[in-house]
């Protein structure tokens, strides 16, 4: 007994002693971790492009030069990395050489741009010979007086805009380590003329240019989606097939290059909301078959391989969105009661987790390319807005809040992420028409993309296209 007591006491003594020594081992060196930095935009000077071709073709070339210049300017501005300096402030003619002065007698002077506090200077020239366009670019870091990126591009004159996007992509890749999203496209349903009756599927550059109408059903076409390689789209159209009395919402696959299309799911009722599995073999979609809709997994030739959601009875499970790694599916469901909410489940339908609890109606989930975030449209009062949250539902941020000219709240719907994950695209009726907008993923900058009389519905942003 005494022994144990003694042992206890010595143990206690040891403990108190070790506590003292621990306290004495405090770190005396001063070390500070700063954590994440605040960010700022860099000032960029981009003088007009010089024409390096023969003087006789100058006037014809001007339009091409302006198109390249405007496209690059728009890309870099929207990238939100840069603020472009107004050319009225420039202290030097745009015609100064493409390389700096001491080496090049007619070259530009760094001092002229340092005086403007410019961080970057892009000097570019182009020439046109016959049908061939050449674009030569030099991007300099002004404070360090060094060339950061120089590249020459060649192609047909008709690809001028594409060439400009390619340059902007390359420049972002060089500076940020991540390719820009400027060569991506958008597939979207549109009434084309603002009448709102017939809706066809169109594709366009991410900045709203080069609109192509890819369907001509003279019917209502809905919820298009890109295949992982960007070569095929799936969409739903109210088609009247031979032998049927009524139009049915059938799903169609369309090869963009060949224009070949094939119905893949035409079960009675809704066949809609395609989301391509990144495996390149399967599509998740909503099928109602006249009942409450559920989510199914289907091959490209329409064979159902899995009923992914199953009830609960009376509940609808719609709008599947496959995560970029193919392991999870986000969807909206009213299984919790009257209000549809966002849920995430494993790709085989197990482990269903509700991830939104706020608002009255949450729908149209969309994954960020890294799979870390989910955007959705949420209704809190009488209108929808775009929200972004972590894929577990935490850290929810509102991206939109806009009123129409008549003072009523605008509807902002159907979010989709840019291929670099830095932007979210959606539609908004704030002007009266349902137009396409993009916002930075933190909601700090919002821009209108389309500027016409048409209405657009359910845009989907492609990956970077070749």
């Amino acid at each position: 007994m005494r022994k144990t007591v003694l042992m206890l006491l010595s143990f206690l003594a040891f403990l108190s002693f070790s506590q003292q020594t621990l306290a004495q081992e405090s770190n005396n060196g001063i070390y500070i971790k700063l954590g994440e930095a605040k960010t700022k935009k860099s000032l960029m000077a981009f003088p007009a492009l010089q024409y390096a071709g023969s003087p006789t073709t100058t006037s014809k070339a001007q339009a091409t030069g302006a198109e390249i210049f405007n496209t690059v300017t728009n890309d870099l501005t929207i990238s939100s990395y840069f603020q472009l300096i107004n050319s009225a402030a420039f202290l030097e003619e745009a015609s100064k050489g493409l390389t700096p002065a001491p080496g090049n007698p007619n070259g530009f002077k760094y001092e002229s741009w340092k005086a403007l506090n410019a961080d970057f200077l892009i000097k570019a020239a182009f020439s046109i010979v016959g049908d061939e366009l050449t674009l030569e670019t030099y991007t300099y870091h002004v404070p360090r007086a060094s060339l950061v990126f120089g590249k020459k591009y060649q192609g047909k004159v008709s690809t001028a805009r594409r060439m400009a996007h390619t340059f902007a992509n390359d420049l972002l890749k060089e500076l940020t380590g991540q390719t820009g999203p400027f060569l991506s496209r958008v597939v979207v349903a549109s009434d084309l003329n603002g009448t709102g009756k017939i809706k066809e599927i169109v594709t366009m550059d991410w900045d709203g240019n080069n609109i192509d109408q890819v369907t001509n059903h003279k019917s209502i076409c809905l919820s298009p989606a890109w295949s992982p390689d960007g070569k095929t789209i799936a969409y739903t159209s109210y088609i009247k097939r031979i032998g049927n009395k009524f139009r049915n919402a059938d799903m169609v696959l369309l090869n963009l290059a060949s224009g070949k299309r094939a119905p893949v799911s035409y079960r009675k009722g809704i066949n809609s909301g395609a989301s391509f599995d990144p495996d390149g073999k399967h599509i998740y979609l909503t099928i109602s078959q006249g009942e409450r809709p559920d989510i199914y997994k289907m091959t490209y030739d329409g064979k159902l391989v899995l009923k992914v959601t199953n009830g609960p009875a009376g509940a609808m499970n719609v709008e599947p969105a496959v995560s970029p790694d193919g392991s999870k599916v986000a969807f909206s469901s009213d299984r919790s009661g009257r209000a549809p909410m966002i849920y995430v489940m494993d790709a085989n339908g197990n482990n269903v987790k509700r991830i939104t609890f706020a608002g009255q109606f949450n729908s149209t989930p969309a994954w960020s390319p890294d799979g870390k975030k989910i955007a959705f449209a949420g209704q809190s009062e009488d209108h929808f807005d775009i929200f972004v949250m972590n894929s577990d539902g935490s850290d929810m941020k509102r991206l939109t809040s806009a009123r129409k000219p008549n003072g009523k709240w605008a509807f902002n719907e159907d979010p989709t992420f840019s291929p670099d994950g830095r932007f979210v695209m959606y539609t908004s009726d704030r002007t009266g028409k349902n137009q396409i907008y993009i916002s930075t993923v933190d909601g700090t900058e919002e821009r209108r993309v389309t500027n016409d009389e048409a209405n657009y519905y359910k845009p989907k942003w492609s990956s970077n296209l070749e």
Partner: protein, 279 residues
């Protein structure tokens, strides 16, 4: 008789129970004690709650310093300097008289042994020399060399390279650079670091195009007693010249740094501050 016997038995039983009760109470106490000790060891709250007590410590310290100059002055005036200035700032309340003796004693004890053994050894050696054994002399010389080396080392550790410092000065520096900061020093140290952290963070800015690249750099900054930058250099480069430029620019924007407490001016002007961008 029967009753007597039972009484006896009872008393015997009582005698037996008494030590048992003692043991039980002892164990219970031990358990209680161990509980609180364990709790104190493993669930020690940070010293935040002592914030009120900090001021009591600060009141107590100036008195300690008042007594310090006396023993220190015998050797050299220098070590007292930093603390003298401190007297000016907090009003010295005369209460604690017993405590102050502790620290100065330690110092006084630590300081003299350094020189005294030398003197004693030398004297002994002289006596021994007369008698015999040159070996002892050599031993003494060796010892002296050893001590000199040790002192040199301490000088270097303290790093007070600027002032031609005597041994006492070095001692003072060693004390302030010591591995243990407790009480007031610890709190001053902590609150200064909080100030520094906030101050530099305010200036920590990157161009957005650089911010997503997962770059990391560390810089060391030394500052003088007013917080002005003496030197700043990248000790761990990010590998990206633009990022390193931004790191140095952030440090320049942060100048002057918050004025450090006197105790730390030596550390800050020599060892400096290691800043991680972002870690």
């Amino acid at each position: 008789m029967i009753t007597e016997e039972t009484e006896l038995e009872e008393s015997i039983n009582n005698e037996e129970e008494l030590p048992r009760g003692l043991v039980v109470s002892f164990i219970l106490h031990a358990l209680l004690l161990s509980f609180f000790t364990l709790k104190a060891v493993f669930f020690t709250p940070e010293a935040i709650d002592y914030s009120a007590a900090i001021r009591v410590d600060m009141v107590g310290l100036p008195d300690k310093i008042q007594t310090l100059p006396e023993p220190a002055a015998k050797e050299e005036a220098k070590p007292a300097l930093p603390e003298k200035q401190k007297e000016k700032t907090p009003p010295p309340p005369p209460k604690p008289v017993e405590k102050p003796a502790e620290k100065p004693l330690e110092k006084a004890v630590k300081v003299p042994p350094k020189k005294d053994p030398d003197a004693i050894n030398l004297e002994k050696n002289k006596n021994d020399q007369k008698n015999a054994m040159e070996k002892l002399k050599a031993m003494a010389a060796l010892e002296k060399i050893k001590e000199d080396v040790a002192e040199d080392k301490k000088k270097k550790e303290a790093g007070a390279g600027k002032d031609a410092a005597g041994p006492a000065k070095v001692k003072g520096n060693v004390l302030s650079a010591g591995s243990s900061l407790t009480g007031l020093e610890r709190l001053q140290h902590d609150s200064y670091i909080v100030d520094l952290d906030k101050h530099i963070k305010n200036q920590w800015q990157l161009p957005e195009w650089l911010s997503k690249r997962d770059l990391k750099a560390q810089a060391r900054v030394t500052i003088d007693s007013n917080g002005n930058i003496l030197s700043s250099k990248i000790v761990k480069s990010s590998g990206n010249p633009s990022y390193d430029d931004e790191v140095l620019a952030t440090i320049q924007r942060a100048a002057p740094f918050p004025k450090p407490p006197e105790k730390f001016t030596n550390i800050l002007s020599v060892d400096g501050i290691l800043i991680g961008f972002p870690e």
